[in-house]
């Protein structure tokens, strides 16, 4: 079955697939091993698309439905690749009128990413939010957990450059 | 390390007390950087690095640097405790790299407490 699945796992490197198989092997037969496998697999692969789940299900001798059920239950697991950083732009009223809108437009243009999407280089996952209650600092962007206030379009790049 | 027996617990206790005690001619000062998640989030790691660099620059050899957990007062983090031989420990609040450098040079090396940054002196009492 190994040869067959390498096709669907083509978006991952051989090295990653090898690591995945190593993780599966370590937990094979161990009760309750599924969640640790998924956690470690996601560390290596960044996300867990269905083909990966299938490989894990086969490797641990579990039904795919159970693996899928667990992946979708816990918020820690993701089936879509996420960026290394989460970039959120506040579009509450205060931010909107103070240039939040142009920041949002700028991000879409410069980083080639739509709302709710991840940049092709997986650097950012981009989201917009309604008022973060930091209106005094408008316009506000939040990268991961860090709030950056008074971000002008010209300043945007230098702020985001901190996050590679 | 070999497995401990009951009586070893007491020996360790005595050993640690003698090792960590400050004394003439030995370790003269102990600086504790409090590093829980909150401390780290407010910059404790940068403070620790600044301290290590300052020690390196001055070649001080009689200062123990240690880390510990959260002191509980998250809104005043990062917190740093400085204890000099024969003196009460001093807790500094809201530290940053510059304050750490200053506290190191003027308090740890020269013995002058940097009052503006001090939270309190002494230690918590455990009943």
């Amino acid at each position: 079955m190994k040869s067959g699945s390498s096709d669907v796992l083509k978006e991952f490197s051989a090295e990653q697939v090898e690591k995945l198989d190593g993780i599966i092997a370590r937990y094979r037969g161990k009760p309750g091993g599924l969640i640790p496998v998924l956690e470690e697999a996601q560390m290596v692969l960044d996300y867990l698309p269905v083909p990966v789940q299938k490989r894990i299900a086969d490797g641990l001798n579990l039904p795919l439905a159970q693996v899928y059920g667990v992946v979708t239950f816990y918020s820690f697991f993701t089936m879509k690749p996420r960026g290394r950083h989460t970039l959120r732009v506040c579009l509450g009223t205060a931010c909107y009128v103070r240039g939040g809108k142009s920041i949002a437009e700028n991000i879409v243009k410069e980083y080639k990413v739509g709302e709710g999407e991840t940049t092709p280089d997986r650097r950012f996952t981009y989201e917009t939010v309604r008022c973060l209650g930091a209106c005094g600092l408008a316009p506000v962007i939040v990268v991961n957990e860090n709030v950056h206030g008074r971000v002008k379009t010209q300043k945007l790049k230098s702020v985001l450059d901190e996050y590679q | 390390m070999s497995k401990l027996k009951i009586e070893d617990l007491k020996k360790i206790k005595e050993k640690v007390h003698s090792q960590t005690a400050l004394r003439e001619g030995g370790q003269r000062a102990k600086v504790t950087v409090h590093m829980g998640t909150c401390g780290i989030a407010s910059g404790a790691r940068e403070v620790l690095n600044a301290l290590m660099r300052a020690i390196e620059e001055t070649n001080a050899t009689d200062v123990i640097v240690t880390t510990s957990g959260c002191m509980g007062l998250c809104s005043r983090e990062p917190l740093v405790t400085v204890e000099l031989l024969g003196k009460e420990p001093i807790k500094y609040e809201k530290m940053d790299e510059m304050k750490m450098r200053q506290v190191f040079k003027r308090h740890v090396l020269e013995g002058e407490i940097q009052t503006p940054f001090v939270l309190a002196k002494g230690a918590e009492v455990v009943r």
Binding site: Y96, G136, L137 | S2, T32, T37, T66, R106, G122
Partner: protein, 1018 residues
């Protein structure tokens, strides 16, 4: 060798470099050579001075002056002043690090002193990654005792006797849990540690794991011995990487030393622990869900029974304890159950760790004996609420808990008391909320959390949380309907009774507890579309306008100031406020407390801007309105409430007559507030405008004296009673009737009615005056007495921060030289031959909390002292004087001497044609609330008349459209409020000239520019 006049040493240490010393040095070189001083002054870069936090540092020799925090922009001034004019620049001087500052010890800081460290006993003292430091503090000694000296039964008995209850939330006795598991048959049993701390605002488990991980391991080994287990799991959330790291280090060291694993300490006992990382599901904090999760499945709860003690993980007997519970165990075994039970309450022994967060000064981790009062935790340990805001409620127990409001600050926090108040202890998250938090929004927030985290297994929780969230969201958006509150309550009961696990059963708690304590806020959201905290932004355009009792369009008139269209601005104000120039001076400006600009630096000075408009634009012309209605209206009392009502009714075409007892209209505005705060010309102008509309004001006419009640009843179709609250409350002490004792408002009224007599010395207070009280009228009386030449002392029974008077008034009084003594209450007024000679006082200390959230003053016995004075002014409160209302009128007066009004028509009294409002209904309140009452009454009166006549409701005439410009700056620079120019204190204390001088144009425009225009709609 060249000789220089001065040497200028620039610190070139790493620290100063980082803070910009190179740029400063360059600027100095340029400046000095630019001014031709290069031959006289030598600049030298030196090594580190050690004042790194205050860099860049300059030292000038030969004077030896040290300058700190020097910026490049300081350089020109510094060179000019110091090197050319020879005047050192003091503002940049090094301040000796407070030589006289006494450093407090940890025991003098309430945050630390009031805590009782048991679970947290090693915090900040040991290196959590060094097992030896833990051992050195008696670590693993409890385990050693349990393994060598105690049987499993003895361990269970000891824990039972200690009274320890589960610290994870429900408070189930730990010993009992262990006993069940111990008695369950089976070779394989598990000890589990619940470190899946997921409540928003809770972080005590994380902190314990990070600071003292071995304490948890030690507790688990003891539990293992008690129940006969060989294997344990710690279920820790993946969001706590540092805790997991430190646990791993701790496990490694413990195994290596033989404190875990095979043959622990050579006793033959085997036990080992594995860490299991939670993958982000709140429900896994529930015990059966947690076990399902360790088994590698979706973490859903299972029905109980069977209980985990019988069939838990992998269907084997298991005990699950949370981190804090386990961290207690080692010390209990080592020091004995009595030691543990020596603190706490009858049913809750030991200490509890709280994570104190939210609107509180000291955010942090707090360990206190069970039974410590909530007020002590928040105020004494937590240091109170920041920014002068008021405490509203504390949320205890996160999304499964409830809130405890201000009236229960004296509650002794333990499992029973907290449950009685509708919250739960939970894991100990204590979120403090100030008055800027909305109760409905909080409930919505927690319900959203529970809905998101509902695992979906049982219908009541899955569907019920969604439905409740929908209702709450609608209420917050202004789409609430009558009956929603009752619907929420009944759904809550269903979910509580039928959900499978703790998450679902407790999910409605925040809703129930906010309804219990803040039902009125729910009703305001639903009926009045009002959010008093100005949080639910769908209900309003801007927080300031929403907070103003009369809904003034604040952003509009501020925008017009920026555009220099003051006439239009005045018109905008007059739409809702007949007294803008009065409010521009004496309003309590609640609008500013909710101004979003305040989150950045300071709120916009709305009050001062309002005054700027009325000072600088002509008052809009007023034309008489013809009387088109046959009903005649009488208004009793020409204060702000009465006059506003009269004006509104005149505008609706009614003939209105106002009866005023005193010689001039204005009520408290004329007769209470002194002219240095509110010049009479200003007030008179605005009252004249009301006359011009056609309102007749008859002064010197007291109902029941100059005109009988029966006449009014006969001649008028409807009567609005707004006589205010013009009678001072009595002190209730001996000697109150001596000559020289004044009531606050009586004194102010007398002064305002006979300025001449007082100023010429015909009337006098004597040379020493004591004013008793802490409200605005106490300050008014004191500042007036001072201006009459007396030496004035204010005596107040609480502390400054508790004074109801406006902070700026208190400050102004102090500037003028008035002494304010706190924590002092009068015991009796002493006198001789019928005249006051002094006031005997008793010092007070603060006791428990009253229902307003302030600490109650308690007399200190034996602390009597006498202050010798010539006059005592009692300004401790006012009540209405409603003696003119005949008992047979049917108009009911309640026990506070105020009018009783109806619930449905809030200004109608118990007798249909009599309406009432202002201070005579509410007790002493603010000008703006009186104006609001007047507006409301006019609406109610007109509505009542029209309804009676079967007429359609009044339609206001179309208003002049005023275009409001919308200009905002992309850049918001931090900048504080423009300061109000004032007369010098030295000068103003001698006369009654207006103290505040008003903004100049540039100040006003600059201040107007600070508005963030929250009203903008896009």
């Amino acid at each position: 060798m060249k000789v220089f006049r001065s040497h200028l040493l620039v610190c070139g240490g790493t620290g100063c470099h980082a803070s910009g010393s190179l740029a400063v040095k360059k600027a100095l070189v340029d400046e000095i050579s630019g001014r031709g001083l290069a031959e006289e002054i030598k600049i030298v870069e030196t090594g580190c001075n050690g004042f790194c936090a205050m860099g860049p540092i300059l030292v000038v020799y030969p004077e030896g002056i040290i300058y700190m925090n020097v910026r490049t922009e300081d350089v020109p001034v510094l060179v000019e002043e110091h090197f050319i004019k020879g005047r050192p620049v003091e503002r940049l001087f090094y301040k000796e690090p407070g030589k006289e500052d006494r450093i407090p010890s940890m025991q003098e800081i309430p945050f630390f002193a009031l805590q009782d460290l048991r679970v947290l006993r090693n915090r900040g003292l040991i290196d959590p990654e060094n097992i030896e430091e833990y051992i050195a503090r008696d670590g693993y000694a409890g385990m050693a005792k349990a393994l060598t000296e105690m049987t499993p039964e003895q361990i269970v008995q000891e824990v039972l006797k200690s009274g320890l209850r589960g610290r994870g939330g429900a408070g189930f006795p730990t010993g009992l849990k262990w006993q069940f598991a111990q008695r369950s048959p089976g070779d394989v049993k598990y000890v589990l540690c619940n470190a899946d701390e997921g409540d928003p605002g809770a972080f005590m488990d994380r902190s314990v794991l990070e600071a003292d991980p071995h304490a948890v391991l030690e507790g688990m080994v003891i539990a293992a011995k008690a129940i006969g287990s060989k294997h344990g799991y710690i279920y820790c959330r993946a969001e706590y990487p540092l805790a997991i790291h430190r646990l791993n280090v701790a496990l490694g060291q413990a195994r290596e030393m033989g404190l875990l694993g095979k043959d622990i300490l050579g006793t033959g006992f085997d036990f080992d622990i594995e860490i299991y990382q939670g993958a982000g599901a709140f429900v896994c904090g529930e015990e059966t869900a947690l076990m399902t999760s360790i088994e590698g499945k979706r973490g859903m709860p299972r029905p109980r029974p069977p209980f985990p003690a019988v069939a838990g993980l992998w269907a084997k007997p298991s005990v699950l304890n949370n981190v804090e519970t386990l961290a207690n165990i080692g010390q209990i075994i080592l020091r004995g159950s009595e030691w543990h039970a020596s603190v706490g309450t009858e049913k809750s022994k030991g200490t509890k760790v709280f994570a104190l967060t939210g609107d509180v000064n000291n955010v942090g981790l707090v360990e206190v004996p069970m039974g410590t009062t909530l007020g002590s935790i928040i105020y004494d340990i937590g240091g109170g609420i920041p920014g002068g805001k008021k405490f509203k409620a504390a949320q205890l127990g996160g999304p499964s808990g409830g809130c405890i409001p201000v009236e229960h600050l004296n509650a002794a926090v333990d499992y029973e008391k907290v449950a009685e108040l509708g919250a739960i202890m939970g894991s100990g998250g204590l979120i403090v909320m100030n008055e800027d938090k909305c109760a409905v929004d909080m409930a919505r927030f927690f319900m959203e959390f529970c809905k998101d985290e509902s695992c979906g297994k049982c219908t009541p929780c899955r569907e019920g949380t969604q439905r409740m969230l929908d209702i709450l969201t609608n209420i917050c958006k202004g789409k609430g309907r009558e009956g929603d509150i009752e619907l929420l309550e009944s759904m809550a009961t269903v979910i509580k009774d039928s959900a499978l696990c703790g998450l679902g059963q407790t999910a409605p708690n925040p809703v129930l507890s906010t309804i219990r304590y803040f039902r009125k806020e729910y009703e305001e959201h639903i009926r009045d579309k009002k959010c008093r905290a100005a949080v639910c932004s769908a209900l309003f355009r801007s927080p300031c306008q929403h907070t103003c009792p009369i809904g003034m369009d604040i952003p509009a008139y501020i925008a017009l100031i920026r555009d220099d269209r003051l006439e239009d601005a005045y018109k905008v104000m007059m739409k809702t406020n007949p007294f803008p120039s009065v409010c521009g001076r004496v309003c309590d400006h609640q609008c500013q407390t909710k101004c979003r600009r305040g989150l950045l630096d300071e709120p916009v000075a709305i009050k001062f801007l309002k005054r700027y408009i009325s000072d600088n634009a002509p008052r809009p012309q007023v034309k008489p309105v013809g009387i088109t209605r046959r009903e005649k209206i009488a208004v009793v009392g020409a204060g702000p409430a009465g006059l506003t009502c009269a004006r509104d009714l005149a505008l609706r075409g009614y003939g209105v007559t106002v009866f005023e007892e005193l010689p001039a209209p204005g009520g408290m505005l004329s007769w209470g507030i002194p002219s240095y705060r509110l010049p009479r010309a200003v007030l008179d102008g605005e009252i004249d405008d009301i006359r011009k509309l056609g309102v007749e004001i008859r002064c010197n006419t007291r109902v029941g004296r100059e005109i009988p009640w029966a006449r009014i009843d006969e001649d008028f179709d409807c009567v609005y009673l707004a006589p205010g609250a013009h009678k001072s409350q009595r002190l209730g002490v001996e000697g109150e009737d001596l000559k020289g004792v004044w009531g606050g408002v009586e004194f102010l009224r007398d002064y305002n009615g006979d300025e001449e007599g007082w100023r010429t010395g015909k009337k006098s207070l004597g040379s020493r005056v004591a004013v008793i009280g802490g409200g605005n009228s106490a300050i008014d009386a004191a500042r007036t007495a001072l201006r009459l030449g007396a030496e004035v002392t204010i005596l107040y029974r609480r502390l400054r921060e508790d004074m109801p008077a406006a902070a700026e008034e208190i400050l102004a009084a102090e500037h003028e030289g008035i002494k304010i003594e706190y924590l002092i209450a009068p015991l009796r007024v002493v006198g001789s031959s019928g005249r006051v000679t002094g006031v005997e006082c008793l010092r007070q200390k603060l006791g428990d909390f009253d229902s307003s959230g302030r600490k109650r003053p308690v007399a200190i016995p034996g602390s009597e002292f006498t202050l010798s004075v010539d006059t005592v002014i009692a300004a401790i409160g006012q009540t209405p004087d409603l003696s003119f209302v005949p008992a047979e009128s049917g108009v009911k007066v309640n026990k506070w001497s105020c009018f009783d009004v109806r619930d449905d028509i809030p200004s109608q009294t118990s007798s249909a044609k009599f309406f009432a409002g202002g201070d005579a209904v509410t007790g002493p309140s603010t000008v703006i609330k009186a104006i609001a009452a007047g507006h409301g009454a006019a609406e109610d009166i007109d509505g009542w008349i029209r309804k009676k006549n079967g007429e359609p409701a009044w339609v206001p005439p179309s208003e002049e459209q005023i275009h409001i410009p919308f200009v905002v700056d992309e850049d918001t620079e931090e900048c504080p409020q423009a300061r109000m120019p004032e007369l010098e204190a030295e000068f103003r204390r001698k006369n009654f000239a207006e103290v505040e001088l008003g903004y100049k144009k540039d100040q006003a425009v600059k201040e107007a520019t600070r508005c963030l225009r929250c009203d903008a709609e896009i």
